[in-house]
């Protein structure tokens, strides 16, 4: 596939993520911050975010595994996940955090377990799409480098 076609494929792929509600306009701002002085910014941020999100989701699951759940601890994790999701533009994941927050506020362990299942699904979807996005980005960089 030639460079122009790859770029179009990437652009369309990102657009589809917006249309599906997986991403919101905040992600466009992150893309805009990437330039020749900071050429890997999007990949760096996505990697940071995914590492943090996985750690937080694991901690949430660990907390919910205890008979007596520490809901204030849970609140901190939800807060952090919602904050980073909002900041990267992970729209559906951000919205999924609201369910967990509500269940946690109500001290409803069963509700929390259901909510964290949704969060896990949304995160896995997002991660798959981010991986595809970064694969396209790397292909473009490789092609551009070979052409120089």
């Amino acid at each position: 596939m030639d460079l122009a076609a790859l770029k179009t494929q990437l652009k369309n792929f990102v657009q589809s993520m917006f249309e599906e509600g997986v991403l919101d306009n905040q992600f466009s701002q992150i893309q805009a911050l990437q330039d020749s002085t900071n050429p890997n910014f999007v990949e760096e941020v996505i990697t940071l975010f995914c590492n943090d999100a996985e750690r937080i989701i694991n901690e949430i699951n660990r907390n919910l595994g205890y008979q007596n759940v520490d809901f204030s601890n849970l609140d901190s994790y939800v807060h952090q996940l919602k904050g980073s999701s909002s900041s990267i533009g992970a729209n559906r994941l951000k919205l999924a955090c609201a369910n967990l927050r509500q269940a946690s506020d109500e001290r409803n362990k069963e509700g929390c377990l259901q909510a964290v299942q949704l969060i896990t699904c949304e995160y896995c979807l997002l991660r798959r799409k981010f991986q595809a996005l970064l694969h396209l980005e790397r292909s473009i960089v490789e092609l551009e480098t070979n052409q120089k």
Partner: protein, 155 residues
């Protein structure tokens, strides 16, 4: 001194498409800063403060980030000065509200912007009572940031 965004030399260096530079101009509001401003980011979440730092750096603001409230207080108590502090409500070690109170007690005068994942009215009022100037939900957006930068630049 007219400060512009680091736009790069030509669109063929842009990784997205030929319209990428124009898109950047549209997405990142272009402002002219005469002064060299400094900002401190206080957030336990790495993703958030990396993004906030880069956003501020794109406007030429010198930035420093810490990931807990205690380090923020220690920095300010050691006479480090900043034009702007961006602080999260929930922090490791010392929470954001307590950090802003202690900053006021130390007597440091600067713009303070609280940016947090969930903002309730009671939290908003508590932060504004400690002299935080603006209290918003994440993400840090240009509609709030640009007027603050312009105001700091005028001072």
């Amino acid at each position: 001194m007219a400060l512009t965004l680091p736009l790069g030399e030509a669109s063929d260096q842009d990784k997205w498409d030929n319209g990428g530079l124009e898109r950047k101009r549209q997405l990142l509001i272009e402002i002219v800063l005469r002064s060299r401003l400094t900002a401190l980011m206080v957030d336990g979440d790495t993703t958030c403060w990396v993004l906030e730092q880069e956003l501020l750096r794109s406007y030429g603001v010198q930035t420093l980030g810490v990931d807990n409230g205690r380090d923020a207080i220690d920095l300010i108590a050691s006479d480090a000065a900043f034009n702007l502090i961006i602080i999260e409500k929930i922090l490791p070690v010392l929470n954001g509200l307590e950090v802003t109170r202690q900053i006021c007690e130390i007597g440091m005068r600067c713009k303070m912007l609280a940016v947090t994942a969930y903002s309730g009215e009671s939290e908003r009022q508590a932060f504004l009572a400690t002299s935080v100037d603006v209290f918003i939900e994440k993400p840090l957006d240009l509609e709030h940031l640009v007027p603050i930068l312009r105001e700091l630049d005028r001072q």
